[in-house]
């Protein structure tokens, strides 16, 4: 019953603002959950929040939801050390939660401000699938009266690339949709590659829509810069060594995980790009090299 309400609220949030990141929706849901929680102990609160996060990942299995939930939980545990009285503690948590949400709603703007300077006039950009952060960056660059053209991969199986192309046409940016298989073909014409990320891992690598790894490998071979734009709440405490090491719960959609009998027959929808292929990461914490991500994660989580 309680979980149903949670899921409903989450879906509601996603519907109301399609531009909002799924992690933000998750955090908003958890904050609401916190406000409505009738628990008496901090430990009980933490447990119920963990189960709520698990419930949410059951709806949307992306890395971002899990990382957002974990960040919120860690942030809660830090607050709980300061006050003894539960109700005052909760009040402080709610206030801080609101502050946190406000801060991360500004993060896309910060990223866009940092990244648009790297797009020179006359540049040809390659991007992958539909990313709201990349869209925001390109919006900002267009607003700065820069002339550039964009190549977008179609990004099967959900053809999200078409969605991106539509959005870009509305900005009057010349855009071409290419096949996923044509990445190597088109790279010689391109000046730089910008992709979003669903999660940024401890090694400095990223987890993103399937096809990103291929694109990164080709860019490395062509010596083109490969830029990643991601907000800081996407930093996650994972350390995959290769594709196989990424936990299966992230690789497939939530419904597939529940219904499929044999996962090896399903197609994974995300892949892992190692840090050696990434030139720079643009986050609201600044412009980072992949090795600096671990430093930032240590600061965030410890």
């Amino acid at each position: 019953g309680y979980n149903m309400k949670l899921v409903e609220y989450f879906r509601d949030q996603m519907r109301k603002d399609p531009d909002m990141a799924s992690a933000v929706a998750a955090i908003r849901t958890l904050l609401e959950f916190l406000k409505r929680d009738k628990g008496e102990t901090i430990l009980g609160l933490r447990e119920s929040l963990t189960s709520a996060t698990d419930c949410l990942t059951g709806v949307d299995s992306s890395v971002a939801v899990s990382s957002g939930g974990e960040l919120f939980l860690r942030f809660i545990s830090l607050t709980s050390l300061e006050h003894q009285d539960l109700s005052r503690c909760k009040k402080v948590m709610e206030e801080r939660g609101e502050l946190f949400l406000e801060k991360i709603s500004m993060s896309r703007t910060k990223v866009a401000k940092l990244c648009h300077t790297f797009i020179k006039d006359g540049a040809k950009i390659l991007t992958h699938s539909y990313s709201r952060v990349v869209l925001r960056v390109l919006e900002k660059a267009a607003a700065e009266k820069k002339r550039f053209s964009v190549y977008v991969t179609e990004s099967q199986p959900d053809a999200a690339g078409q969605h991106m192309a539509e959005a870009l046409r509305k900005l009057n940016v010349p855009v071409t949709v290419v096949l996923d298989a044509a990445v190597g073909y088109v790279l010689e014409k391109v000046d730089l590659v910008i992709v979003g990320a669903e999660g940024v891992v401890e090694s400095g690598g990223i987890i993103n829509k399937i096809g990103t790894y291929q694109m990164a490998l080709c860019s490395k071979a062509h010596n083109k810069p490969f830029y990643v734009v991601a907000e800081s709440f996407k930093f996650v405490r994972l350390y995959p060594l290769n594709q196989q090491d990424v936990p299966e719960k992230f690789k497939y959609k939530a419904d597939t995980l529940k219904t499929a009998k044999n996962l090896s027959e399903e197609h994974p929808i995300i892949d892992y790009t190692p840090p050696s292929l990434i030139t720079l990461l643009f986050t609201d914490l600044g412009v980072l090299t992949p090795s600096a991500v671990s430093d930032e994660l240590i600061k965030l989580y410890l």
């Binding site: 401890e202 090694s203 400095g204 350390y239 060594l241 290769n242 090491d245 936990p247 840090p275 050696s276 090795s291 671990s294 430093d295 240590i298 410890l302």
Partner: protein, 556 residues
């Protein structure tokens, strides 16, 4: 001598009137400055004096003794940097005036050797005070003052700080060797002099030119042969430990550190504070010759260095009002907890991290090199948690440490394969992960480990196999190294000689002028070849080692 001077000077104070007041005040302000600069200068003087004393011990010339005594007695007089200094200084200033008069009178008619000790001393004092006063007037000069005995150019602030190379990598420089010999001689209790000292171990055999700056010892000539019996300078537990190190009985980074700490515990248990000495200072001085001895037996590892730093810090932090028994038991507890936290529990945490974060999964083929206690522990733990994997143990001459690892793993029931390092590129396509141990992790992210490790990491990278290094944080050191030449260890070259079917081809290698045998112990692996470092703080990329060092320094 000193008392006479003060009596005479106090008399002088009373007789001289208010005219001396400003001089006294000036000397008082100087007295404050005297403390640091004077201490430095006088310490240097003392050292120089001791050296020249030793040299001239054979030729006992009166003149030199006379020359030295005034300075050495002047030195301890001003040394204690507390209030007495300020009282002594103003008393010294007016003392110079009346005393210098008879000195100058004496210097006129008499020749130099005819001067009495007191006059020489007073003369020297006068000169020092005058110089100090003149220096004080010129502002902006740094503290070093040219003394009369050894004129030195005072270093200015503008000179760049000269970084000196550590002594253990300057073996081809004869001056450094002489300094080392002198240092070993001096590290002894004051009662025992020439006979019972720490011997200097001599290098053995021809050294390859690229590595001639390192020591190369022979196992057949252990340092203990040169020690006299009974060796009162070095504790028997330390002698035993040194022998165990030099013969390779205790080998491996963790094993050496733990053995060292246990030996130090024994030393502390048997230690009694001599009268008029403080435990916190005396014990540290007692440990210095032991550390030099162990260093001569086998160069200290980074982990041992960190452990020694910790012990020295703990000893010097003991409050002076602490009773001896309390202090000793506190130190023993500290050492015990260091071993427990930094080595044993860290190993447990690392194993837990590796297993829980799915770094060892079912169906894995794991490659290990040599014998790392930590890696063996991780694999045994994973096997107990019923992970299904098999291990490939890579081994190399001359140490053949892989045999020990193989023995331990097979005993647990893990299925293993054994190859020599020459077959590594053949076997790597089968491997899913490589686990390596580390001797030390350097501040620029390089991994210092047994020779051959960097080779394995390189080949693994070429085959796209992930390389994981397991290392406790107490092995992290502040050093920076980019190649294996600068600082390494040369083992006994005779180890490379192999006898097959009764014949030893390399038997007469010393007679061949153009033949050198090189038995390296360590090498460094660049961070590009290492994918992950597992420490008890978590999993970090190789480039984040300085972050951990920074966090650790903040904690301390």
């Amino acid at each position: 001598m000193i008392n006479n001077l003060f009596l005479s000077s106090s008399v002088a104070c009373v007789t001289d009137g208010p005219g001396r007041k400003d001089e006294i005040e000036r000397a008082k302000s100087e007295g404050k400055d005297l403390t640091k600069e004077e201490k430095q200068r006088l310490r240097k003087e003392k050292k120089q004096q001791k050296k020249s004393k030793e040299k001239k011990d054979d030729k006992a010339s009166q003149e030199n003794e006379k020359e030295k005594k005034p300075v050495t007695s002047a030195a301890p007089a001003s040394q204690p940097p507390t209030k007495p200094t300020m009282q002594k200084a103003p008393s010294a200033v007016p003392a110079t005036a009346p005393v210098s008069v008879p000195a100058s009178e004496a210097s006129g008619p008499a020749d130099k050797p005819a001067k009495t000790k007191a006059e020489l001393k007073a003369e020297r004092r006068a000169r020092q005070e005058a110089e100090r006063a003149s220096k004080q007037n010129k502002k902006g000069e740094t503290g070093q003052q040219a003394t009369t005995s050894k004129p030195k150019a005072p270093p200015s602030d503008l000179q760049p700080v000269v970084k000196r190379l550590p002594e253990h990598i300057q073996v081809d420089n004869p001056d450094v060797l002489k300094k080392l010999a002198k240092k070993l001689e001096r590290q002894q209790t004051p009662e025992h002099y020439a006979a019972k000292k720490i011997p200097l171990r001599l290098d053995y055999g021809y050294k390859v030119s690229l590595f001639s700056h390192l020591h190369q010892y022979s196992r057949k000539a252990p340092l203990t042969q040169q020690l006299s019996i009974p060796s009162t300078v070095i504790h028997p537990a330390i002698v035993r430990l040194g022998l165990q190190y030099s013969h390779g009985i205790v080998a491996g980074s963790n094993a050496r550190s733990v053995a060292l700490l246990h030996a130090f515990k024994q030393v502390i248990r048997d230690y009694t504070t001599p009268p008029n000495e403080e435990l916190s200072r005396d014990l540290v001085n007692k440990l210095k010759p032991y550390i030099s001895f162990l260093n001569q037996c086998r160069p200290l590892s980074a982990s041992m260095g960190n452990a020694i730093k910790y012990i020295k810090k703990e000893i010097s932090n003991i409050p002076s009002n602490c009773k001896e028994e309390e202090a000793k038991s506190k130190l023993l507890n500290d050492i015990e907890s260091y071993i427990n936290e930094k080595i044993i529990l860290a190993g447990v945490a690392i194993a837990k991290c590796a297993i829980e974060k799915q770094k060892i999964s079912d169906g894995d083929v794991i490659l290990v090199y040599g014998c790392s206690s930590l890696v063996n522990h991780i694999l045994c733990e994973a096997f107990e948690k019923s992970r299904k994997f098999r291990v490939i143990v890579v081994d190399s001459r001359p140490r053949l440490e892989g045999k020990e690892a193989l023995r331990r793993l097979v005993q647990k029931g893990i299925s293993c394969t054994y190859v020599l390092i020459s077959a590594v590129s053949y076997i790597l396509p089968e491997v899913s992960k490589v686990f390596l141990g580390a001797h030390a992790l350097l501040a620029n992210g390089y991994v210092m480990s047994r020779v051959g490790t960097s080779q394995i990491a390189l080949v693994a990278k070429a085959f796209n196999v992930p390389v994981l290094v397991c290392c406790e944080t107490y092995k992290f050191c502040d050093r920076v190294q980019t190649d294996s030449f600068v600082s390494n260890e040369l083992d006994d070259p005779d180890d490379l000689i192999v006898t097959r079917k009764g014949t030893t081809p390399l038997e007469g290698w010393q007679n061949e002028s153009s033949l050198g045998l090189l038995n390296l112990v360590y090498d460094v692996t660049p961070p590009d070849f290492v994918d992950l470092v597992i420490t008890e703080l978590g999993m970090i990329p190789c480039t984040s080692v300085p972050v951990v060092l920074r966090v650790k320094n903040v904690d301390q």
